[in-house]
Symmetry: C2
Subunit: 287 residues, 2 copies
């Protein structure tokens, strides 16, 4: 299954026969006080640094979120989308919980975007899916509904199937434009959370066959040495069937682990990419 | 499935509901010229350092191999087994391609050993399996026979089934005393080798249910940054069903990845072991 995203000039394919798609997550004011104040004052200059850092780190798609309280998020997101597209040719993931902001972001976007995200709640699907269809975008869906964020992977897969059914039949969204986020929960809260997520991933791969993405670093929340845990978890989840993750591409340890896992899964023929990135690192050391 | 190994005073369980079993691989003269010369002269003093380093690094079982050309390997292995057992209470994996050496090693051993290894060749099974049975040991079996080391995971699984059938019915070896080594081959030789091994691992888990071990570092042979690749591959293989590996426990990067994967698989409740090893590392830094 290939989910094809694009900017005006560049295409990125998410798929189980492709190198893992790293969606850079940094362009997001959540938990960044200074960035929030800048955005509130209409100053988007920090975005430039963030784009450069994510691209340098190996991001293939950039997530753009402008969720700052007490601002016109729609206006801000449209502005940010235009700015980021002027800085890079990478496809974007337009990220908001506000429907008007998604609409403005999609309106400002050139190419085929990924939208982050919709839940399996009737009112959310009703608002977001027609928008996704109208803009010919791809959509990230989370398997939770009005009543629950299910812990049980079987229940998560049921919600995924329900979503796929509604999105394809009622809203005519092609299966390949659906990307499921099977929910990463902190291992510190429950020792079985990561295993359940991997279980959900392999069931979704086997039973539904769609692409998946994950806010993977959630898994290590509250634990020491988070980068190492993320660098362990993502390859395991890749083996289970995960084809993309929303992650901070500025962490070489995790990005390198992803590249190693690509090699292990046969998505880096002769290890060409692995060897090349190793040489680049060695060269950088010798500068 | 629990494979129970023991020394005179300590038990180690290999199992899919247990922390991953790290079998330390260093007590082996292969490729170590100085060590070979020492052993030829009857000097086993280097073994002491090796045992200490593997134990400090986190090995739970120690592989002991005394394969030095032009020596009496049987005598040497018996001597080494006694020495290692005087230095540590860890169970041992007695490793030789020479049947007489296995016999001498098992004879010298106190407890329930793991034997490394037998192939699915009639004459090898006929020589080694009665020995394993007589000493109530566990045995590592490699899925290759007289005609081939199969590349195809399906064929490997067929050989595993054949072995399990012969070992249990003809030689009365209990299923839990069989540990399969599904063969790790270098990714540099074929981009699909690691994926095939993981495929074989999950098929063996699902269809046979026995414990498995792997000379895991073979996978990265010939590639740059091997530790990182090993630290990526082993967690992926653990998710597929690998329950143990023969590896150099002196590489913290790989050992830490194994511990992280234990946590991800729910084999480290509340992350107690993960947090503890992190604290120990931090404490060591501050000394």
């Amino acid at each position: 299954m290939h989910t094809v995203l694009s900017s005006a000039s560049k295409q990125v394919i998410i798929g189980d026969d492709q190198p893992f798609c790293i969606i850079g997550e940094r362009i997001n004011p959540t938990g960044r006080k200074t960035f929030q104040e800048q955005l509130r004052a209409g100053d988007l200059s920090a975005v430039e640094t963030d784009v450069a850092a994510q691209v340098a780190g190996g991001a293939m798609v950039l997530d753009v979120n402008m969720g700052v309280p007490l601002t016109d998020e729609a206006e801000l997101l449209a502005k940010a989308v235009k700015l980021v597209q002027s800085l890079t040719d990478m496809p974007l993931c337009i990220d908001s919980s506000v429907v008007e902001a998604l609409e403005a972001g999609l309106g400002a976007y050139e190419g085929k975007a990924l939208v982050n995200s919709v839940t399996v709640e009737d009112d959310r699907m009703e608002l977001i899916l027609p928008l996704v269809k109208r803009h010919n975008a791809a959509i990230i869906a989370l398997p939770n509904d009005e009543t629950e964020i299910p812990i049980d992977p079987v229940r998560r897969v049921e919600l995924v199937k329900k979503f796929v059914d509604i999105a394809t039949s009622k809203y005519s969204i092609p299966l390949e434009d659906i990307v499921i986020d099977p929910l990463a929960m902190p291992i510190g809260a429950d020792s079985l959370h990561a295993d359940r997520t991997m279980e959900a991933i392999s069931m979704i791969r086997d039973q539904v066959g769609v692409n998946m993405t994950l806010g993977a670093s959630n898994v290590s929340f509250g634990m020491p040495d988070r980068h190492t845990l993320n660098a362990v978890f993502i390859p395991m989840a890749m083996r289970a069937g995960l084809t993309s993750a929303i992650m901070d591409a500025r962490t070489p340890q995790v990005v390198t682990a992803v590249k190693g896992a690509d090699l292990m899964l046969g998505h880096d023929e002769w290890g060409a990419a692995w060897i090349q990135q190793h040489r680049a690192k060695e060269a950088a050391k010798n500068v």
